[in-house]
């Protein structure tokens, strides 16, 4: 994708870059839904169009940003499994390329991020339920307080039920059952 080989001219190169840039811009912007920065989104877009795995230095050069930023950006994308580290003998530098299987990216995102949230929420809810039950049984608990506790408990139970459902949704995704409901294109 560099220009130095004389296989095409400046003008043609610019034309391609212009097209890519617009796509990168939009895709990068919408990647904020995955909780990544705009610039990390752009980095992803850059890697998406790269015709070969890139090094941090190359990214920094293309993005006009510091290598440090590339390092952290790549790490974020790595955590989200949106890019993969690639090994190439001969090169001492780390190489990265995007995960082109976006279905995988999507489900992995849920598997990791949402699962984490579901679990921490469930844990908090269960603890709260225990606390409430303990409190409700104390002798100096007034009628009024018992009522408040009961209402809270009911709300928490409903929330927990929802989280159990969400947990099963994530299971279904991980096991690929979502593709039964909504098939991939051939």
């Amino acid at each position: 994708m560099s220009l130095d080989q004389n296989e095409w001219n400046e003008q043609q190169y610019e034309a391609v870059q212009r097209i890519r840039k617009r796509v990168i811009e939009v895709v990068g912007r919408n990647m904020e839904l995955y909780g990544v920065t705009l610039s990390t989104g752009h980095l992803y877009g850059l890697l998406f169009f790269a015709d070969k795995p890139m090094t941090l230095d190359e990214m920094g050069h293309e993005m006009q940003m510091s290598k440090t930023s590339m390092s952290t950006g790549v790490r974020t994308l790595l955590d989200l499994k949106m890019v993969n580290k690639v090994w190439e003998k001969g090169s001492r530098k780390d190489l990265y390329e995007v995960e082109y299987d976006w279905y995988q990216t999507f489900t992995d995102y849920f598997a990791t991020q949402w699962r984490r949230a579901v679990e921490s929420n469930m844990q908090a809810l269960r603890r709260a339920m225990k606390e409430i039950e303990r409190l409700a049984e104390e002798p100096d608990t007034s009628e009024f307080m018992a009522g408040v506790l009961q209402k809270d408990l009911e709300k928490i139970r409903q929330a927990e039920s929802y989280y159990r459902w969400l947990d099963r949704v994530i299971d279904a995704m991980e096991e690929g059952q979502l593709f039964d409901l909504v098939p991939r294109e051939s």
Copy 2:
């Protein structure tokens, strides 16, 4: 939930608040997945436990924050359909309560946020494809450039295919089909 009625004492009130606070903390933190601030998440948690719809002033008082912040926070949650505006005769103030149907909240979130992203991405990809095809047909396009264009086009086609799938997933959610795959608890 206020203390001024003498139905319970300071200590009991504190005990309940402590339990709630922990739940609010966790739920609020995980709400960053929905792209909302920590403090907006806390606001949501506050409303979750409120035993009646709240006014901006009440929220501000409980959260120890300005009414302006409450206003913007509530608006964010309203946009996400996580809270509802409630009418109550006699009161001139706006009242808000959380949407307790979290299944609905979840699917609404996808329906609005992800759909928006999918659509804007698809539009960008289609434009890019047209551009590429136009460019590919120009007479001064070298062999090498044609190859580059072809590769880009292929990537974009794959991406578009994914977005069409995602679009159908969102359809399926909106139409409640997700509940066929993963049933709600009774």
